[in-house]
Symmetry: C2
């Protein structure tokens, strides 16, 4: 739920900057503009910025069609302006969301540049999905004001954002980023230590590793693994998450569940080594199974189908759940 | 999608039997009766059978309210009859779904009893979530006609069912059970080997193990892990499953994704040992966190909330997706 009162308090009428205007940056621009903020968007490659504007327009049309924005798409788009330099982008902003290339040297150079440009109370969030702040955001005067704000794509539909401080990030920065993200309608997850993959990709990783191993051993096909989640596990997870699911699945709650099923899960874990790379053979095998269901030529159309479903899912959640 | 033509071909007008009338058995009774089949329900404890009927009635009212059954609840209920003996239950049936106590000796005794009672073409499905057919269904004249048909609770809402043959199960039995389950509207997953936890609980186990470890290490709270799935990962998984999700998440599809992210996921797997039991301390810690969000006294009310959401989810999927 977007909170304009909180937003005004946090930003004091100042705009936000989007640095890196690819798919992720464009998604963030929608999140902030939808909430009523003015957004300045910059990419070192002007071609990317130019492509971002029609992309954002198309996405806003979809959001409007599904009842996910009340304003006309053009009104939201009017709050987003593309600018030509990093200095213009960050001038006078309350917050910078960077979504530049996923490379340590590129992120580091950007931090050095921002160090020379931004106001002393501007906060910087990084969209990186895998590089900890320690690797690129230490030892600068802005370091206390930099943290990871890792979204899921597209952030204007899937609300989760992981906030990960580096050891030099100030507590106040985490608090302000938390308040800002909530005020623009995101669901904040606090990752308290810089573990590889943060929380979201660690959870995805372990499930995918087991899924691939089951296919490798001939226990189940890719399609049957997908069915198991899509027509089974995913139902509860999509509105409760794993802990609430098990808390409700044993008469006495989560502790009762742990005593009943903990030993089985330990045995399952023990039965599985981690020394199985996804080698070329296995990748070819999985690829062949997926292509039976969906040809390479149909990937793009199926992505459009997925995006429509995500919009429907977002619209249904907004109607049913006052939390969203 | 229920297919009455197929059903008639498969069962030839014969009823099905539910043996064990607890929560799982009662759920199965709804699945079969909803599809138009006559159901005979038996439990060794007559008290349990007596409780099952009003429980089924309540569930049918909910299904009707959410548009998930077209008939009046009373019409569906009229196809379910409670009987007093196992012999009555299985007399003349096409299929037996057993959901008795989750103990090898109890399951084995039931198989011996069924061996003396059922017709030579009756098939037996077991609801066990963890005991392989090898442990209780071998060496009998009915063994070629016994397999695991493991549901998610409640099966009349969450459609997935895992079919797991024992080494003695005939291929034809798997084919008939597959056709029957599809005809009554379930989503069939074929588990080709008797691995512990089958597919569904293995996938759940690895995700839960990582979730508990993240809480144990202070990386994230239970509530934040739940948010990561509920407001992030669970969105795509709930209508695509993990393989289709990654197939659409890299420009070149699943093989491209594997090359890009396989090494990260391998490192995440390598970073996690399996030798961390859920000991009393950790269980107490997780329990305390959950109870902050939901008191013990509110568990029951929250379960009712969950069941309403599952009905809404089922209704939404039926409207949107012709597959269901």
């Amino acid at each position: 739920m977007i909170d304009k009162h909180d937003l005004h308090k946090l930003c004091g009428g100042r705009p936000v900057a989007i640095v890196g205007a690819g798919l992720v940056g464009a998604g963030w621009a929608i999140v902030f503009a939808r909430a009523g903020l003015h957004v300045k968007m910059f990419d070192a490659n002007p071609e990317i910025t130019r492509k971002a504007v029609p992309l954002i327009d198309t996405q806003l049309q979809g959001l409007h069609r599904h009842g996910l924005i009340d304003e006309a798409p053009a009104a939201v788009l009017a709050r987003i302006s593309a600018v030509d330099t990093l200095a213009q982008a960050v001038d006078g902003v309350a917050y910078v969301q960077e979504s530049v290339l996923e490379r340590v040297d590129v992120k580091r150079q950007l931090m050095v540049d921002l160090d020379a440009l931004i106001a002393p109370d501007t906060i910087v969030g990084s969209s990186t999905s895998g590089i900890p702040g320690s690797a690129f955001a230490l030892g600068l005067s802005i370091s206390p004001r930099v943290l990871i704000a890792h979204p899921v794509n597209p952030p204007y539909l899937v609300p989760v954002v992981e906030l990960v401080p580096s050891p030099e990030t100030a507590t106040r920065t985490v608090d302000v980023a938390d308040a800002l993200m909530r005020a623009v309608g995101q669901a904040v997850v606090h990752v308290r230590k810089e573990v590889e993959g943060f929380v979201l990709n660690r959870l995805q990783a372990v499930l995918l590793r087991e899924a691939w191993a089951l296919v490798q051993e001939g226990v189940a096909s890719c399609e049957d693994v997908d069915k198991t989640v899509r027509d089974g596990l995913g139902w509860r997870w999509s509105f409760m998450g794993p802990f609430e699911t098990i808390d409700l699945n044993a008469p006495g709650g989560v502790a009762d569940y742990a005593v009943r099923l903990g030993p089985l899960y330990q045995r399952i874990a023990d039965s599985r080594g981690h020394d199985t790379p996804w080698d070329a053979d296995l990748i070819g095998h999985v690829e062949a199974q997926r292509r039976e269901h969906l040809s390479h030529d149909d990937l793009e159309a199926r992505r459009a189908w997925r995006d429509e479903r995500l919009m429907e899912f977002a619209a249904a959640r907004r109607t049913r759940d006052p939390r969203n």
